[in-house]
Symmetry: C2
Subunit: 197 residues, 2 copies
Amino acid sequence: MQQGIQLILDNISKIVSLTKEEQDLFVSKLQYLEYKKKEFFLHEGQFSNELNFIIEGCVLVFYTDHTGFSHLIQFAIEDWWVGDIASSTHNIPTQLNIQAVEKTKVLRISKEDLEYLFEAIPKLERFFRILLQKRVANLQQRIISSLSKTATERFLEFRAQYGFLENRITQLQIASFLGVTPEFLSMIRRKLNSTNK
Amino acid sequence: MQQGIQLILDNISKIVSLTKEEQDLFVSKLQYLEYKKKEFFLHEGQFSNELNFIIEGCVLVFYTDHTGFSHLIQFAIEDWWVGDIASSTHNIPTQLNIQAVEKTKVLRISKEDLEYLFEAIPKLERFFRILLQKRVANLQQRIISSLSKTATERFLEFRAQYGFLENRITQLQIASFLGVTPEFLSMIRRKLNSTNK
DNA sequence: CGAAAATTTGACATGACTCAACTGGAGTGG
DNA sequence: CCACTCCAGTTGAGTCATGTCAAATTTTCG
């Protein structure tokens, strides 16, 4: 866990700088947790009241539609933040599932503690404001891609941006992220190999 | 303009409450602007350093791809905030265009002033943090729809959520928002009418 | 090693796009 | 107030991208 604390403080200090006291206060609110492979952080229908910082491992955030198909909204690996903002902002049960795909270690902070910390340390609120701005930019980019690009182009974009994930998650999950069937993704890969290899 | 000031203060007070002095300071940084129908707030390639609050009118935010097609990312009407977060967060030229579709009145605040205000009035930073959370929730929902729904379903969802816009913007723009061709949207509408009327 | 899951393949079906032609307002200028 | 143009919207035929289903193959992992 100790190295996790260092990781999270470094993560924050890339954007705002906290004093020693502020860091200690912040750290005092963190809870350390481990999840086994395939274990769930959050199931749809629950209320989400936490924010998680991944120290080690990898998690998927996905939505299951009425026909039972899963759609991958987001993934997160070490040094990333993950939570269901919609559920905790609006106080509604979540539509999302968050699941570990590997053994995963996280630091968790509750919504109440976070609100308390925002009062006590305004710089922390700034940190999350900036994090959210980046997330908005990222989601917007994804919408642009889904509106203007073909599946093959989206796959190449995925590789360029998240290539380091290609052997940590399955083709099925990549397909679900891109919004295509696994069969079709398989065909895309075959074509790319024969053309480009 | 006077009624615009009231509108923006009311908009903020739904989430945080400012003192009279804070309100005055905030208001002192606002710039009032009017745009004619079809006029641009922002052209792709420019740097975006402002945030706009619409007092009256309607604007579209769109992306133009390499083949010259436009894709509608977002629209905004009175009582909404609009700007290019990606460009101003990362200090990069924008990929987006923002254009008035009607005569539009806005209150604008520069990035510098906003940063100054965040220091002076932490509650204001909270306000924008919460606004961003809502935006993230909204964008995420749109991604869920684009991954899991058919064009017809997305059109019905658009109507349910943004029906009040249906006669302020064109079919072409709606098609571009949904990510389909105007021809195909026309067919969807015809089918819905014959089935459901 | 063997079972279950992931990936691939191929035949066929369909949602959505392209292109070209047509229709019907909404300006605009004379 | 008419004639003209222009652009949004519609239609239809043909095509392409992507999905469905079922089966074969490979990989993973207990």
